[in-house]
């Protein structure tokens, strides 16, 4: 199950925040095929956002083939995203690398800049 955090000051539309956080959970393996997304009622009770915003986000995820709505049952994950669950060897290697970068005196912003620049070089032209 995922729990959505809505940040009203980012300028990112609320429904997009839900879409992005769902995808993030799919990428990290926190959500797997067959898992149920929280109902609109559960999301709005916790976040106080408008129910239609949640439905719009779920429709978008459905349009992308990631989830499916089953009438009267809820919305379920259809497929996962990416191949890098949180516990994959890549995750461990990256964590190890981050430890070393920190030990070497790099700050968070330095690491982020470095990581993004490597991403840009190696994934040139790929969709974000």
């Amino acid at each position: 199950m995922v729990e959505y955090r809505i940040d009203r000051r980012t300028g990112v539309a609320t429904y997009l925040q839900i879409v992005q956080q769902t995808k993030q959970a799919l990428r990290l393996g926190l959500l797997e095929p067959g898992d149920k997304l929280p109902t609109a009622r559960e999301v709005v009770a916790a976040t106080a956002i408008n129910p239609n915003t949640v439905l719009k986000a779920y429709r978008e995820l459905e349009r992308e083939g990631l989830v499916e709505a089953r009438r009267g049952l809820g919305t379920f994950v259809r497929k996962s995203l990416g191949a890098a669950p949180a516990d994959s060897p890549f995750g461990a290697e990256l964590a190890d690398w981050a430890d070393r970068a920190r030990a070497a005196g790099l700050e968070r912003d330095d690491v982020a800049a470095l990581f993004n620049s490597v991403l840009d070089t190696h994934f040139k032209g790929d969709q974000g």
Partner: protein, 302 residues
């Protein structure tokens, strides 16, 4: 859902012949199933409008229909929570809910009312008079939602509540709207906190409807532009300020915008404040009968 929860035509209200108009020539249409924010400064006419919808006031001129009929005929199908949330101070929470059931024998949904109270971890045996403002609001909301209204009218429900209580109560409201499709109309002069919760807006200023329509449509019909001072001929300028060489303006684009302008979509708060600071700006209604198929917003060419 193309049903109309609330519609006004030429609605006007004057309290006594010597006083001015509290509402004048108000026209709007609110589709069912929306969460509508009625915003505007104190004294703008928000409470007067809600009291008309609740059937507590009669229009001096024009009409207001609710759920397709008159407010009096729709009384059973709607709930109204007044600003001062009148409750009997000597009753306990449990007795208040029992009273709600007796007042609404045909519609009372005990499970809904009890859940609203339970979500706030209220003691059922506590007397109303010892409750905090937020807890009282929660009991008033339980009474209103226990009636399972199709239309819920709330007059400044969040005033005098702390931020946590506001968030929790708004969550309760949104959950009910999600579950039952309740149309919610709530007035507030604190705009920012409504932005994520409402999807329809009615801006009242000096007794008149200044803006009416779906929130997203109203926001995208406006553009906040910043750039070197230059004229904005051809656009409807709501508000414009020039500091040194730079101009910041809120406009309704009327065609091409010169490429020198940086543009962003305003927030609800920016939209409301700009209109309140410019009482002469023309009103905008995006809630006509074909509002489900809104006109293409004017494309701002780069």
């Amino acid at each position: 859902m193309s049903d109309t929860a609330m519609a006004a035509a030429g609605l006007g209200k004057r309290f006594g012949r010597r006083k001015g108009w509290a509402l004048r020539e108000c026209a709007f249409r609110l589709p069912a199933g929306r969460v509508c924010a009625v915003v505007g400064p104190n004294g703008a006419g928000k409470s007067t409008l809600l009291a008309h919808a609740a059937g507590l006031l009669r229009p001096t001129e024009g009409t207001l229909t609710v759920l397709g009929t008159s407010p009096a005929a729709a009384r059973e199908r709607m709930a109204y929570v007044a600003q001062d949330k009148p409750l009997h101070p000597q009753l306990t929470v449990a007795e208040t809910l029992r009273w709600g059931r007796e007042m609404n024998p045909r519609r009372w949904d005990r499970a809904v009312a009890e859940r609203v109270v339970a979500d706030g971890a209220l003691d059922l045996d506590a007397k109303i008079r010892v409750l905090s403002g937020g807890q009282r609001t929660r009991v008033a909301l339980a009474l209103a939602l226990g009636k399972r209204p199709e239309l819920l009218l709330l007059d400044e429900p969040m005033a005098d509540l702390d931020p946590l209580a506001r968030h929790e109560l708004m969550g309760t409201l949104m959950a009910d709207a999600a579950e039952h499709g309740t149309t919610v109309v709530m007035s507030s002069h604190v705009v920012a906190e409504l932005e994520g919760s409402c999807d329809h807006v009615l801006l009242i200023g000096s007794g008149r409807v200044r803006l009416a329509g779906p929130l997203d449509d109203l926001l995208t019909a406006h553009t906040l532009v910043t750039g070197p001072a230059a004229d904005l001929d051809g656009h409807t300028v709501i508000e414009s300020r020039t500091t040194g060489r730079q101009t910041t303006a809120l406009i309704r684009p009327g065609g091409r915008l010169a490429g020198t302008w940086q543009r962003t979509t305003p927030t609800l708060e920016e939209l409301v404040l700009a209109h309140l600071r410019s009482p002469e700006a023309p009103s905008l209604h995006l809630d006509s009968d074909d509002a489900d198929d809104p006109a293409e917003p004017v494309e701002a060419a780069v």
